[in-house]
Symmetry: C2
Subunit: 415 residues, 2 copies
């Protein structure tokens, strides 16, 4: 049995006309001899409306009941879409999270998938040509409904592909694939035909919002090939898969950016053991995610400590720091919202030296001051003033040969 998973969300399921386009994609898969698992999100706007409704009913809506409420969005979508399939005489049925079942832990609102009954699905696929599965939802071991959190439908799709050993997991969206950078900022951005899981993880977390991070982690773990493509065209899209042969790999695959950054500096903190913990423990307890951290060399047993948090968390962070300011001996606290993190991403970095120096030289040539730097095996991130965002992206995009067709991107400036 050859199985294809096709996931459609957001603008791809915005009413009947869109759903007819979705049906065409399913028919293409059927004509290629696949059994199809269609995973749907709620129709455009439905989930937001339900959240708004709940907020108007209760100040802090019960999380378990919130999941009961939200899961109706996907339930309606799969019922309506299956009606469209049945109208064409396609052997199909809808499947809700609790019916398969998609078993999760009981963390309402952001549950994690524990298990999917492979045999149950395989049995259903023997009887039906298309299963229309409600994304985003599952149930815990007591049959209570759970939801997987934002972008959960991508995760549902990848998990179903993993369990059923599907040949491919297609994620349909309103863009044609993953680009070397944001085409809205850099007109020379190129669609990437193939990208490694880890690169995709970095791209996704940096704001290339085509794929939910958790689904990519899942795909990587279970080695599920994921094809990101558009519902509204027939272009081939971007294949997310395991690391390509690094000889062929582009040294740099893309330039990502994240404007949701704010920088906080603690001036003249006492440089003694335990200070960092005193600062970052209460911040972590408040569920604030600290990204980059830089500590300047100590002078007179005092040091400056700078770190970044999401802009929405600045206020809470400053409140926390205010409380511990005296304890850690900070002389002053500064913060700056007008910053942006630019990241150069590529698995090729593992085998090519000198990427960082090219990045720094490129930014220097354009007089873009680098405020902070952090690196990983496949990524170099530079915090710059927000006003330089476009300039930094465009110049790095050109410097790493991404302006050209990506298939030739291995002809890098280092070659």
């Amino acid at each position: 049995m050859r199985i294809l998973v096709q996931k459609f969300g957001g603008t791809s399921v915005d009413g009947r006309d869109c759903m007819l386009k979705v049906r065409e994609k399913v028919l293409v898969g059927l004509n290629q001899g696949y059994k199809i698992i269609v995973v749907l999100s709620a129709m455009h706007g439905v989930t937001s409306n339900l959240i708004k409704m709940a907020s108007s009913w209760a100040k802090e809506p019960d999380r378990a009941e919130m999941d009961v409420l939200l899961s109706t969005g996907e339930q309606q979508a799969v019922a309506l879409f299956t009606m469209l399939l049945k109208e064409k005489g396609i052997k199909s049925r809808s499947c809700l999270g609790h019916q398969l079942p998609i078993r999760t832990d009981p963390t309402f609102g952001s549950a994690r998938i524990l298990d999917i009954d492979k045999k149950a699905i395989t049995d259903l696929l023997k009887r039906y040509d298309v299963l229309v599965v409600a994304g985003f939802q599952g149930c815990d071991c007591t049959q209570r409904i759970t939801t997987l959190g934002r972008g959960g439908s991508d995760t549902s799709a990848v998990a179903l592909a993993a369990v059923t050993q599907a040949e491919l997991c297609e994620i349909y969206t309103d863009v044609e694939g993953v680009y070397t950078t944001d085409p809205n900022i850099c007109s020379k951005a190129q669609k990437i035909s193939m990208i490694d899981y880890e690169e995709m993880l970095e791209m996704a977390s940096m704001g290339a919002k085509v794929l939910q991070i958790r689904s990519v982690e899942f795909a990587k773990k279970y080695n599920v090939p994921v094809l990101v493509r558009s519902t509204f065209s027939n272009e081939p899209g971007t294949l997310v898969t395991k690391e390509k042969n690094s000889m062929e790999a582009a040294m740099v695959s893309g330039i990502a950016y994240d404007k949701d950054q704010a920088r906080i500096t603690l001036v003249g903190v006492k440089d003694e053991p335990g200070v960092s913990a005193k600062i970052f423990e209460p911040i972590a307890s408040a569920n604030i995610v600290v990204d980059m951290i830089v500590q300047n060399p100590s002078k007179n047993e005092r040091t400056d400590l700078t770190f970044t948090v999401p802009r929405g968390s600045v206020k809470d962070t400053l409140k926390i720091l205010g409380k511990i300011k005296d304890d850690i001996g900070a002389q002053d606290i500064f913060h700056d919202d007008n910053v942006c993190k630019i990241s150069v991403i590529g698995v090729g970095m593992r085998t090519h030296a000198g990427i960082a120096s090219i990045a720094f030289a490129t930014l220097q040539k354009e007089n873009v001051n680098i405020l902070m730097i952090s690196t990983s095996e496949i990524k170099i991130s530079c915090l710059v003033k927000e006003k330089y965002t476009e300039l930094a992206i465009r110049s790095l995009h050109e410097a790493f040969g991404l302006d050209k067709d990506v298939s030739k991107a291995c002809e890098s400036p280092l070659a």
Copy 2:
């Protein structure tokens, strides 16, 4: 464990403000020491909107998928209402049809309840003070979602009361109970404080729409006391229960009417064996419900046959009769939409003679011509011209002593 079932539907669950009134009713029950099973319908208008939506998506929406779609209405209602309970700190949770489970046959759209897991519910009631159950829905033995058809939430409530041996099943609605007749027609209509299941069945089927027929049948079968009352007042309502001691019983409990009637007359049909079958078999096959039937005495081996059908079925019935007209030798076919069926209902008829003659005499005194008559053990129905509807109801209501307080209605004209 003392259990109380409370069902709220239609206008009682029309948005948050209504639901706050529902919460008050639940609190009253809790304060009386009951564990409560709340059964909710979808919020006002939601089910109709979903049906409209499905019709605009597919010409003949798949029935199984229709149930998946429609069941979201109740699912949203129970989630939102439970949020309101949790906000007050009430130990409660929502329960969907498949969670209890409420097991039904697989007749999508009009499923019948087969079984409810008593132990599962009792266990839940040990852990929660209030279970908020989605009415109208269940699941078949393969976990597919079913719905119980129109008014199904009443049936859900009565079934849950039967299984859990609840002390009482309260059906909350927007009227204060069951009346001796339609108060819109007869200003002297009295609220009935207690009514027998069978009387209620006749009242319900005659258009006293406060309780769904199937739920009354269920209540009768399992001897569940049902209290019909208003969400919007504190009046005691009408208790539907098993037959009262007939010595105390009112001879006549109420006057019902049904304007959804049309009369069809076949003139000069051959009076020979098998003719009735030739007429009524194809009508039944077309799912048209024939109510009253009268056959005049034969003259010259020919007879006139008159029967009633719902008004909406007249066209189809005439089409069927047109086809068999020659075969049955009918000389002519007449039909009349301007008729109304008036019914005098009361279990007291079983022990009191002469009810029919009082009814006929009353109508005659008012010059209301009786077109057809049918009777049962507890009911006399007369078909009259529609223009006499109000006159007939008011004069019968007075003649059977219903204008007075119902508690004294046993002082009947026969006494």
